[in-house]
Symmetry: D2
């Protein structure tokens, strides 16, 4: 049941890249929540390919049809299902993948897992296209969360060796949050865009790809949310974020760098602000202590590996003839999915947070 997430508000994601359609069922939404579908589509556009040199040439309409759970733009409390029909698929591009699994991709693992019955076309259920469902759901969640004072924003923390300015872990302004939420290539410091695009373009020219890091902040959660041990903020967010294909690591607050600090450096001292709120001056803990929110922003970074689909020739195996072979992947593939992953990571965070509340 890998494609189901959540204990309180449950996502059930379905679809395969070149099947009839993809979609998501969201069960457990509160009734009476106004949902602005135009805003949902805007968020989906941030993830959609096209309009941007860094992304795949495949054009998707990606306009979901809502089958249930909404009446007059308001949630009814019944499960909300949205479906996106698949069009514009070119399966022939993938014809040789079954025999020769792509290095770094799910092909081989899925072949074994499903005994060869999985739909290999376009990566099937493992396709990045499935994240459109996640952004749909995340955009719905975020409207509900915003109404409760919780906002989420992410940016491209790095592509290859080029780094954006980090988010202030003690909080960002509503303006920056709003700006990041509207950008397709979301950056704190727009001046690094050219260098980043350069990294991507270099990879593209060489038939290669490049990875990066997405940094995400969740603001407005009160202290006291989450559970100890396995139900903590980090556990739930990590369980959601690793649901995004290509994520290979996650760290909260000072994360791995914090392991080189002393306790006296890494601890965040508490203080009362002028309004009588307990805050910390730094946010190395990343918003959760003992798995429970501290009232400070949740901040985390997710490592996105370089897209495995590259046109450069690679060695792999021929599963039919049981021997070595080489592979040069054709078809439409992003040389870098990090920019498109920004809204997906925000959405995974939203799914986690709405289940923690």
């Amino acid at each position: 049941m890998g494609s189901v997430f959540g204990n309180k508000i449950k996502l059930s994601v379905f679809g395969e890249s070149h099947g009839n359609g993809i979609g998501v069922v969201i069960d457990g939404l509160p009734a009476g929540e106004a949902i602005d579908l135009d805003e949902v589509y805007r968020q989906m556009q941030r993830r959609a390919p096209g309009g941007d040199k860094t992304s795949t040439p495949r054009k998707e309409a990606d306009i979901p049809e809502v089958l249930s759970g909404l009446l007059n733009g308001t949630t009814t409390g019944a499960p909300l299902c949205a479906v996106i029909k698949n069009t514009n698929t070119r399966s022939a591009d993938y014809s040789n993948l079954l025999a020769a699994p792509r290095p770094g991709h799910s092909d081989y693992a899925a072949f074994v897992r499903y005994g060869g019955f999985n739909d290999i076309r376009g990566g099937g259920h493992f396709s990045g296209r499935l994240t459109a469902n996640l952004v749909f759901a995340g955009a719905v969640f975020r409207q509900i969360l915003e109404r409760r004072g919780v906002s989420i924003a992410a940016h491209i923390y790095s592509i290859g060796h080029v780094k954006d300015e980090a988010l202030d872990p003690t909080g960002i302004s509503p303006e920056l949050c709003s700006r990041l939420n509207s950008e397709k290539f979301a950056l704190v410091d727009r001046s690094c865009e050219d260098a980043m695009r350069g990294e991507v373009e270099n990879a593209r020219i060489n038939g290669d790809s490049v990875g990066g890091v997405v940094e995400c902040i969740v603001q407005g959660l009160p202290a006291g949310i989450g559970e100890p041990m396995f139900g903590g903020v980090e556990n739930v967010i990590a369980a959601a974020v690793f649901g995004v294909p290509a994520v290979k690591g996650i760290e909260f607050g000072s994360g791995f760098a914090g392991t080189e600090l002393l306790g006296s450096q890494n601890n965040d001292e508490f203080y009362y602000d002028d309004s009588g709120n307990v805050l910390t001056r730094t946010n190395n803990h990343g918003g959760a202590l003992g798995g429970i929110t501290s009232g400070m922003p949740i901040i985390f970074r997710a490592a996105i590996k370089p897209t495995p689909s590259i046109s450069k020739e690679q060695r792999t195996v021929d599963l039919q003839n049981r021997c070595g072979t080489t592979l040069s992947i054709k078809g439409r593939h992003d040389p870098c999915i990090v920019p498109r992953a920004v809204s997906v990571i925000e959405s995974a965070a939203a799914a986690a947070v709405i289940n923690l509340m």
Copy 2:
């Protein structure tokens, strides 16, 4: 329900540091599995304090009593419950913590979460002592896993700025695995022990603490285990590992470093070995592709923050008088929990893996 983990084999952990006892219920174990309790206790000793300058002076008998689920050393299939009675507690050390939450610790978040009714003594349910339950369960799981060809080992990857040699991600020898499993200060390269202990001793002398990284490898899992999206190997392991207090990050395979590689560098090419197995020459993917095992070892690193409990004076708040104050934590505290965390991380991995199979 934060203290419950697992869908197939379910852990339910209970206890508070200075209450009557702590323990764990394991539901769903297969019947007929011989469990060597002496080996379980050996693993628990690796986590136990004492016998080692780096750890807390508190001595714990930590001998669990098995109340159910075992008959003549063999699992009956009924839930297995083990209880460890608490003794040798010195609650007075913690008397001022409620009023003045320790920076970096769960005190404040738990105070809000539980309305001040939580047992603050010794950290209560958030105490690192609770991880003894996890090691008990993990040691049981590992005996069952070993019988199915799956072994787990971890080591101190780093303490502060001192790094051990990394594990070979394509596999380690049974001898190294066995040696690491028997060490209280588990290292690949024992020659770095002195430098690591120096980091800890420096921190201790200064009333400070230091963090580190634990690296863990799971060998012997066949390809094809795990689920896509939210039920993947990474999701399940991360959900377990973040259940260990002080973990603030996790990365699989090349992880964060991999984001700076090109796809052609990070992709692991497939080949047939002489026995006809499909393997990869490198293991940047860390054993899971699309959330599903590839047949290569699972390898991950967990970031352990420096222990928040330090005797150095820190600024915090006085929750009763609603003003700032300072705190110098007394009591028995590890200046570095990384060595003891090794068997805990192995155990969390075991809990995740047995639920994936």
Copy 3:
């Protein structure tokens, strides 16, 4: 998350009677299972209205579109989603229901639960129409179960005061099983059909409705399936069967009548048959002992209340004006849903059984 069922193979049902469409996502199906969609549609026809005097005049095409999870008629292992678009709805019939909740129906409880935001048209998400999803899923499950030797059949045990012959709890012939699976008005003893239809017709003429009991048998499950306590065969089947609207009771084996027996009468003595199988001569236990299958058929009966929607005038309340009022329900309503419930109960049993295995 009321519309989600199952721990291993998970159903997520969505839709509202007069919305855009209804459907179901089935996550966790094994890959490589051939699914005969024509047989699925045949089972759905047994539930569908029309072609039978006892049922609602509303005609539904009810031909589901499979969006994912099937490739060349075989499961891919990815979630299977089927959608049925809604057509031929006459919402005006229901226009006064919000103000005046129908006695015996979910209207009032749902109004409170969802703050009036639920889609009241046709009962919304509570409509019996949603059971089409359950029959779709059940028919898929049953093909997989049949391949493993497990068959399921049910019949109209009673309508009002008229009773069919009971199933032999120690087992029915493949012929009877197959015949029942093909009937729209499934009876062991067809000679009682006229009397049953008479009960229904009497109710219909009087603008009234009538209830009944469905009896269901599951054959072919080996001994040793199920869990003690809350994971038992009865718990899981009951949790599924009460998901069918209008079910108000369930009993296994001798059930309520067995409470008037002595232990020596109700106990089922064990014996070895000629093939060396352990069987019981009677089946008062209904196939489960201690929650675990005994190897005998599972047999249960579900009580279906008389349809609450009747045209006879009833007293109710006017929620807007907060006073009493009367209601005579218009629209297309079955005077008896028991015949159509037969395949729905079989499907609920199938969903439970496939999750127990």
Copy 4:
């Protein structure tokens, strides 16, 4: 994971009749709830054997030790674990059960399920003794529920052919509720006690046993609680109540009898009472419509089969020699467990209800 119940407040029950101890972990309790353990023990006494001719001669101290989750009589929010040590066990009585499974008991099914490794002594994990855990948990839940206006009461609806007066499904007085909650042989009409005890004594004299029905009412739940389909009031209560050994049926409101009524008879008309509450004049629906509470009491009946353990000689099989044999069960066994089951059914209802809220 059969011995775990609940999504919000989770029970994990462990123990075997003749092992070291039994107990329960309750995870997810709200913090700050005062728990009167004396009242908990009083409820456990109602289930305990002894002090009553109808029950087993085995005396149990059954005083649980609370290991965690309570501080100064108040819940801390951490998991609450209570353990009851086993004493006074006479395992020799059960020595021949493994070879010759008791008809009507779990022996054979468990033997197959656990490959013969289960602890057969005293029924092991299937023993009715495990229900002491459920009553402990239920008594805790009921104190929390009472504080929120929800009360639960049950009585012996019937033993064999003797019936008590039924509860008024539209509500019972606080006095009756309180009286039933204090009785070990709980009856509405105490004048039927002699006849009921006569049924039991008759069975006992003949080395036989007798079953019965427990009726339970839950009052004080507001309208609007529960979920549609699989998360409904009936589903959740049934899933809990079938966790009580020997329960073979459950019906809500008019239940099976209601299937013989017309819709106009079975429907419960709504009205406004003088305080402006929406009520129904009758309660054939048993408090739930569409799975959601209506604001009327929840009322259900559970069928308890006659105890399978009887001293009368029965035919069974010899699993070692694979042939028929006879069995006369020795040891201490209730001829009727219905009186003791009353508080267990109340507790199962409490576990369900607290998870629904």
